[in-house]
Amino acid sequence: MTEIIIGVDVGGTFTDIFALNEKTGTAEVTKVPTSRPDQSDGFLSGIRSLVNNFSDLSVVVHGTTAGTNALLERKGAKIGVITTQGMRDVLEMRRRDRPKTWGLRGNFIPIAERNCRLEVSERTLADGTIRTPVDLPSVRKAAQELLDLGCSAISILFANSYANSENEDRAVAAVREIWPNSHVASSSEILPEIREFERFSTTALNAYLQPEVSGYLNRLEKALNTGGFSGEFLIVQSNGGVMGVDTAAKLPIRTALSGPAAGVIAAGYIAEAAGLPDIITGDMGGTSFDVSLIANNQSMLSSQTSIDFGMVVRSPMIEITTIGAGGGSIAWVDKGGLLNIGPESAGSTPGPVAYGQGNTRPTVTDANVVLGRIDPENPIGGKIEKLDVFAASKAIETHVGDPLGLSAIEAAEAILRVANSRMAGALRLVSIERGFDPKRFAFMPFGGGGALHACAMLDEVGLAKAIVPRYPGVTSAMGCVIADMRQDFVQTINSGVNDTDPTVIFEYLQNHVREGHRALDAAGTNFESRVTSFTFDMAYQGQTHTVNVPIYINVNNQVVAVPSLDQISNAFDLEYKKTFGRLLENGVRRIINIRTSVTGKRPRFDLATLAPKGGAIKQAFKGTRSVHFGDQWYDTNIYDRLALPVGAIIPGPAILEQPDTTVLIEPELVGRIDDYGNTLIERSKL
């Protein structure tokens, strides 16, 4: 029996498979088209294309967009809500925001219909006092009514349940007695954190996904098992860690950004191995450019995100910033004569003009095609046989060249310059927002298109280098194999540090740790180590924005030490000073939330496994092509990227091609293949 670990990332167009054979130390990658509507067909056929017998697999890790797609396409379940008297519209009222700053257009339809949101008599106050005990007969009546209305999942959403969950607990127990399936949860079970809209929204979206996602995961698990698989099946969470499939079926909302998070995890691992602690990743897709920042080998987590307007998910997620500049973004000239890129996009269907699938307006990809940067004879992805350079050129001339008085070539360069400038802007802004100087970072493109624009980022942002991973097209699948198992917990405390009973905090933390380890134990794998960490969201009294304060509390044999209040105060002061430069005299420190994360470290694989074995530059050389840079055409050497040996030095201009990615090395820059097969791009030394 061999030990094969499989990572599967299901994207919109392709399903990527990364197979690591731990015995032989070899890795294989493949791409198959994503199957629709049921992604499990592509998932299984993809694995089968690399492994004959599922009993050879030890672990299968899945990064999934099933949840994301169901949210974006509004294809979740019909859900019911039972809520506090007077509050049935919280999900619909949001936090009184609007879709767009300018124009005042657009509206919002919540995922739970209004007639499926029922109120019952109950009320808990902010201090946890129960003012009105929950009226269980009306809870049962409401649940029956929701069943009769055809709801297949249900959320119990009560005010202030973060402070005391008794009413919610009793209601949820009553509902579970009569509800025909397991898709029942209360808001305090999903997220015991203050802020009712965010808690209700997260809970309701979880219910909305539960029937669909748990069904999908169960189908996959069954099919794997039927094929002889007896290892662990794990799912990537938005926080960059993995969870067991049972947890995922209960908490599908934690998969909302599963795929992109896995990509960032892989990027961080690759960069760390390559000795680059600070990187900005850039994933260029058809319609967008997704940017994420890793500083000191740590990826940034955000505590909440909006999947779409009004669809707020509060749970720790890898922070990813998106701008509308992808390969399919359309270039156009406005009535004032200014060249713009996007936000309109041709996406992947019909896609760029060069695809010949009906779009006639030029895109960023078309500019790359016209300038010779993409090989028209061998387009990436294998969906189309040949690119129509003439049509792309004509479209650029008509829609951009003519209005600006430029030739098609000049116009194509103009499109790239404007697109690059916007992408560079995103890189600068994510670093500034986090208080970093962008120049300290290296740029790591992944996804199919990013490596065409890496050199431009050096130039535009002033970065020292770019690093292109060996398999940029399957980074997310690789991240699945790398990710640790991680469970996050939160509990709102909301009291002054000196008014807090440390044993109350201790009890919550101990519970978190116990549950975290239980989840790790249930996964049935051996971890190299287990790490528990605690952070508290704290603020001065009167402030609404909090500082996330790391707190070092001893955990011995899964038993948490009781924290001291002095220690908490000191940790706050330290972090506050770091963030704001000074403390507030006579300020009253408050603990808003306490957070625990329990991580099981999975065995790391040696990235050198992926490095090229042998090879020679001469054998990798494929010929030359005319490629346009700046204001002239260059005879440009083309290489088979995967055949280049470790240590190869390739001066620009050059193009390194591999099945799913084109790496561009511009004149004045030089590429080098490092020990892991990554391509590092730097300025040529003069």
Partner: protein, 565 residues
């Protein structure tokens, strides 16, 4: 004379300069101490013309109202500097005088000349809402103010930094005039940091492209914005359209105050004439002239959301504000309630524009920010003040029904969660819900307003005051759409529920433990004739409880009753 600039460099520089302003925004949001800036983004940054002070580039994340108003802050500094004749590299001016810089006294403005090789190249400016600047009421929202002195400490433009040297005396004066000096110091440091970053980024940009190229780009962008605006206006029909709406009263005497506009389009120009608007009043619903001009810009930007945020857009537009009207109140008229007045200006501009170009506008939004304060003393003597603004419905458009429970068109601020309010203050929300029958009818109906009912839990009781509007004049529908419901404020007394004599404005309401106040906020106006609304949609609204069966039949006829959904 602008040198010709190639279109590629122009497109790249357009993005680069906008980014400088965005990065300044990001710097302040990150560094600011007070949540009004850090979370509600009540701040803004930009680059301004060295001679005229016109807006060259403005950040995208600040509050909408600042997009028009910042150039007035810069113009005031230019005037002051030319009078004093001592503008130097490394100077930074600071002031909050709303009669010079627009909006209200909480907005602290910092203006810094940017020199390149000894020549004034442009101005950088930063504005941010400070928590407190003295005055009669903490937070400075004083509905009883009859002059600006009762609202807050007033600082005219003075040099905070002289040729690079920080004037600590000025900081001492500022910190002595706020109830929250730590907060103010944090915000000030953030604003200075944002200006520093702007200077650094401009240095980089100018050394990369050369000052002449950047200057040409800035000029070209103004010119192009002007062309864009003219092209948009050319597509609209020529003609004159009028609209009039009213403020309920000024909070001092119960007389309604007309706001009137005459919108005229001639070829590629537009004028907005506010002749016929009420004269200056005693209470705080006056606004300063810069605020009025900026408001017209906000309305125009909502009609043409893709226009760039620079002053070129305003060149084809003539705004006439009559002297002596409440839209150009001189110092020291109180202007603390400016939000209500500018919301009404936007409403009348939309009403007039809807007659000219119905596809360009949406119906009126709820039109009042409903500033509600509930305060008292806890058992241990600790004072508490819960102060918040409340939402309402947005207007319908030619694309969709209006948004339920949105924020005001001049702002992007969100409302705190009720759990945060209940945790911080001795109150309980009995109701936090959409308000049935509050939307204006129409082919596309308005969004729904809200009902908030707030009970006092504190044994000592509490005092409440409200500053709102739309108690007598409802948000208007357009293109045949119906009006939304009026704003209704009620408060509980021993004898039952009562309403204020001045509808939506009242101070000194005494509440006992267990008594409540209740806000029923307006929805948005409807768009298009109600008879054109598909009966299925009406039936669905009835089923959802957005509208009662009686009102549905009254507004839309009985066809919906035949539909099964």
């Amino acid at each position: 004379m602008t040198q010709d600039i190639d279109p590629i460099t122009l497109a790249v520089l357009a993005g680069r300069m906008e980014q400088i302003a965005d990065e300044m925004d990001a710097t302040l949001f990150r560094a600011a101490f007070n949540p009004i800036i850090a979370e509600a983004h009540d701040a803004s940054h930009g680059l301004y013309h060295p001679q005229s002070g016109d807006t060259l580039v403005q950040g995208k994340s600040g509050l909408p109202i600042f997009v028009g108003v910042m150039s007035f802050a810069v113009k005031s500094v230019i005037e002051k500097a030319s009078k004093d004749g001592n503008l130097k590299d490394g100077d930074i001016y600071i002031f909050n005088d709303a009669h010079l810089g627009g909006t209200h006294l909480n907005d602290m403005r910092l203006v810094r000349p940017y020199f390149n090789n000894g020549e004034l190249f442009c101005y950088l400016a930063s504005v941010g809402h400070w928590h407190d600047l003295g005055g009669a009421i903490p937070g400075n929202y004083n509905p009883e103010a009859t002059d600006a002195f009762q609202e807050a400490f007033i600082l005219p433009p003075v040099k905070l930094v002289k040729a690079g040297e920080l004037q600590t005396d000025i900081i001492d004066i500022l910190m002595r005039n706020t109830r929250l000096p730590q907060s103010a110091q944090g915000d000030l440091n953030g604003q200075l940091g944002a200006l520093d970053l702007g200077v650094k980024r401009l240095d980089e940009l100018l050394s990369e492209y050369g000052p002449d190229t950047v200057k040409s780009a800035l000029n070209a962008l103004q010119d192009r914005a002007e062309i864009l605006m003219r092209e948009e206006l050319k597509e609209l029909p020529d003609g004159r359209w009028e609209a009039i709406d009213y403020l309920d009263n000024d909070g001092v005497s119960d007389t309604s105050l007309p706001i009137k506009v005459c919108l005229e389009i001639k070829n590629d120009t537009m004028s907005l004439n506010f002749e016929g608007t009420a004269a200056r009043c005693a209470g705080p619903v006056n606004i300063a002239l810069p605020t009025a001009i900026a408001t017209a810009y906000v309305a125009i930007k909502h009609m043409f959301p893709n226009l760039p945020a620079n002053s070129g857009v305003m060149r084809p537009i003539n705004i006439l504000i009559p002297e002596g009207s409440l839209l150009s109140a001189p110092f020291p008229a109180p202007v603390g309630g400016y939000t209500e007045t500018i919301l009404r200006m936007i409403d009348v501009i939309f009403q007039a524009a809807a007659q000219a170009a119905p596809e360009r506008v949406v119906a009126n939004a709820y039109g009042t920010i409903n500033a509600l304060s509930i305060s008292g003393k806890r058992k241990n003597g600790q004072p508490w003040v819960m102060f918040s603004f409340y939402g309402g419905g947005h207007g319908g458009s030619n694309e969709s029904d209006g948004l339920n429970h949105g924020n005001a068109p001049i702002s992007t601020a969100t409302i705190p969660p009720l759990e945060i309010l209940e945790a911080a203050y001795p109150v309980m929300f009995r109701k936090w819900a959409l308000r049935t029958d509050s939307a204006g009818s129409g082919m596309y109906r308005g969004g729904l307003g809200a009902t908030y009912e707030i009970e006092v839990l504190e044994e000592n009781g509490a005092k409440a005051f409200l500053f709102g509007e739309r108690g007598k004049y409802a948000p208007s529908g357009v293109v045949g759409g119906g009006n939304a419901a009026l704003n209704v404020f009620s408060y509980e007394q021993d004898g039952g529920w009562q309403n204020p004599p001045m509808t939506s404005k009242m101070v000194g309401i005494n509440l006992k433990q267990g008594q409540s106040v209740r806000l029923d906020t307006p929805g948005g106006g409807g768009y298009g004739t109600p008879s054109k609304r598909p009966p299925e949609n009406v039936a669905r609204d009835v089923a959802a409880g957005y509208i009662t069966a009686e009102k549905a039949t009254e507004d839309y006829g009985s066809a919906w009753q035949e539909v099964t959904i």
